[in-house]
Amino acid sequence: MAESLSARNIVKRYGGVVALSDGNLDVHAREVVALIGANGSGKSTMSKVINGVVVLDGGQLLLDGQPIRFTSPQVAKNAGISTVFQELSLIPQMTVAENIWLTREPLNAFGVVDRKAIKTRTEELLALFEGTYKTALHPDSPIASLPPDERQIIEILKAMSFDPWLIILDEATASLDSRQVQRLFDLVAKWKEQGKAIVFVSHRMEEIFRIADKYTVLRNGRTVGAGSIKDINEQQLIKLMIEKESALGFLRGEAKTEEKIEKEVSLEVENLTSGTLRGVSLQVHKGELVGIGGLQGQGQRHLLHSLFGDIPYSGTVRLFHKDVRFKHPHEAMKAGVALVPGDRAKEGLLYIRSILDNMLLPSWRRYGMPLKVSNARKDAEQTGSSLNLKMAGLDAPVSSLSGGNAQKVVIGKWLMRNPQVLLLDDPTKGVDVGSKAEFYSLLTRLSEEGKTILFYSSDDEELIGLCDRVLVMHDGMIRTELSGNTLTKENLIAASLGAGERLGGDA
């Protein structure tokens, strides 16, 4: 097993875009290096250079001090490097077991894949995350049928099954809930013990300080800092990541005041029931920012999509005191409701079309017939900059954006409709700290303008920092409501696990 890998002065260009101009990274066995940076700073590109998926245009890779060229993923795999890809490397049509063991299937004497062995070994791997996924997850489940968090788990297990000495986790925690993250960190600790090296990419500061030993910061494709995590604090890290220190203070929102409660009720849900939802009732006021929390897959997305007319349901929904029952997202949009979907890889974006096209798709109506494209362009530019969107230009295709920036396009296109009710389905997955801050201030501004916001996030920090109230869902029901000083991390976790009733006493 190797002892160290170094990347020196890496340059990588995509057409005219320079993704990495001077990337440096050192990682040694038995340590976790946090690779951090704003969206589009080149973290994923660095990962792809190290694992051979893209070929570098300049610079050098050193394995145990020896120069090495990775011309294809095979070469890197043989050198013991494996990756959890930000956009996942799973084949939707194939099963869990087939995906995990792809290229390393155990074979019998005739070169035939040993299906039994595969199944047993997959079950062993799945056991590592036992209890954090739905029971239906099974070695023979097709990937296409799995929710994002379960796919992420499979991607992690797949990377692990190579038994590499270096594992790159590119935003592996973005789709995971706190319990799943904990399991992953337990594994990381074990890997360290076994002498493995880990590169950990995340936008969640709390996670970085929890498991990283070292840090490397990328800014605009350039490594601007590296060192031991002990020697640095969060504010300093963030300062390294972003040039301007805009809206940083907002990061840990101060406790909200209760003054908004008097305002009128804008969204009222009674006994909403569908496939997974088992009678959800809630009220949101105008100008209120209400969070929805809980573990993955407790019905949060179902709730949002039902409200958006995407999933049929029974029960009543009142919007501004009028009973509504949207049969199609179209109707919801007409009534001023917008949903920012979470799984950007699957929904939302037209990758081959331009950023402009994507941002304006839901809003063209406003621009007349024929369309006044220059006005639209101006508006899109404005929304883009309010979200800190890093792009070559509005006419560049979305496929040229980094993961986090693509997500900003998804958010931006819905904000451009200027909705009255904003449903957010885990929108900040993979969005960097700086942009998150801008996004939070944008949300706060919107709620101050009187918009109604229902905000689901898998990031507990975010809910606590941003929301007036948090409704914690468990098993298709709202179990607990946290607000004011009951809105703490401990309570949120306890409630997520279904310990709703005991809460009052704990606080």
Binding site: P341, K346, L350, R353, L371, D395
Partner: protein
């Protein structure tokens, strides 16, 4: 700001390559047929190209929207047989216009059937239209089992030899089609079309009326096929149930040469029009270059291969360089 690179040029102007190819082939044609731009020659060429051009426009829109329509040729055949049997060689101009109107309805209906299966029943476009192409071709054959019939010579003559402003009639028709397309592209419908072709699921999530857009694009394609059928009837003056069949693959070729991505969402209509003209000009070149009949097939094949593969190969070299 930045100097335009080949990539961004072809990316934003997918028709650029089609234009180069067209200019090139016209140049060669001029060598072998120097009087190519004489009014008569130009007109006799353009009126022959027009049916394919119209078909390619419809095909381009469907392909832009992420579909494909294998039945366009058969729809043109139906229209041709209807006109040839119902109007007849000694029909009145009035009858002709009535049946031209009926032809458009037929195109609309045939397109709507395709659209219904594909947009509402979610069947695969290539297979569905391949299957309906049998139905439509069978129907054309049923209407006119034997080539024959026709339209009044005076009306055919109108199409064949009108040259308003000393320009072929076909120019004006192409211009009108192009203007309608440019308007359409600048409307919300145009944006929806690109969105649906880009990624229907994403478009749906954005509340683009995907089903309706898909349905409508097959209707447009049916309509264009009907227009093509009318044009070819005017050109030949007679009916033949097989007349449209061979044009289907040519229309797809024209669209691809025109720079549209077969996977949808990229391209336009001007490119495919140029592609269709290029195909016609190539035919001319081969015919005038006095190539031995046996080599013709070969030369033709090679030219098509090059035309189809060239953008890909250019891309490849670009990629290698960067």
């Amino acid at each position: 700001m930045r100097r335009p690179r080949w990539e961004s040029l072809t990316g934003r102007q997918p028709a650029l390559f089609a234009l180069i190819l067209l200019v090139l082939s016209i140049a060669i044609n001029l060598i072998v047929q120097p009087n190519m731009f004489a009014r008569e020659t130009l007109n006799s060429n353009m009126r022959v190209f027009l049916p394919l051009i119209l078909l390619a426009v419809g095909q381009a829109i469907v392909i832009l929207g992420g579909g494909i329509d294998i039945s366009v040729g058969a729809i043109a055949s139906i229209v041709n047989t209807v006109l040839a049997t119902r109007v007849g060689l000694d029909g009145s101009p009035q009858e002709m216009w009535t049946y031209v109107f009926l032809s458009l309805l037929i195109g609309l209906l045939a397109g709507a059937i395709n659209g219904f299966f594909i947009a509402y029943l979610r069947l695969q476009p290539i297979i569905t239209t391949y299957a309906t192409s049998f139905l439509y071709a069978g129907f054309a054959l049923y209407i006119l089992p034997n080539p024959g019939g026709g339209i009044p010579a005076t009306i055919a003559q109108l199409y064949r030899s009108s040259t308003p402003l000393n320009l072929p009639l076909a120019f004006f028709i192409i211009l009108i089609v192009l203007l309608i397309w440019l308007y359409l592209r600048a409307t919300r419908y145009g944006r929806f079309l690109y969105a649906v072709g880009g990624r229907p699921q994403a478009a749906y999530e954005t509340a683009v009326p995907v089903t309706w857009v898909q349905f409508s694009m097959y209707v447009i394609s049916g309509l264009m096929a009907a227009l093509s059928g009318i044009a070819i009837t005017m050109l030949s003056g007679s009916g033949n149930a097989d007349i449209g069949g061979p044009m289907t693959l040519n229309s797809i070729t024209a669209v691809v040469i025109g720079g549209n991505a077969l996977s949808g969402g990229i391209g336009g209509v001007a490119g495919p029009i140029m592609g269709a003209i290029t195909l016609g000009v190539l035919q001319n070149i081969i015919s005038f270059a006095d190539i031995d009949t046996w080599w013709e097939t070969f030369v033709r094949a090679t030219i098509i291969v090059v035309a189809l593969a060239a953008p890909g190969i250019v891309n490849l070299f670009r990629r290698r360089q960067s």
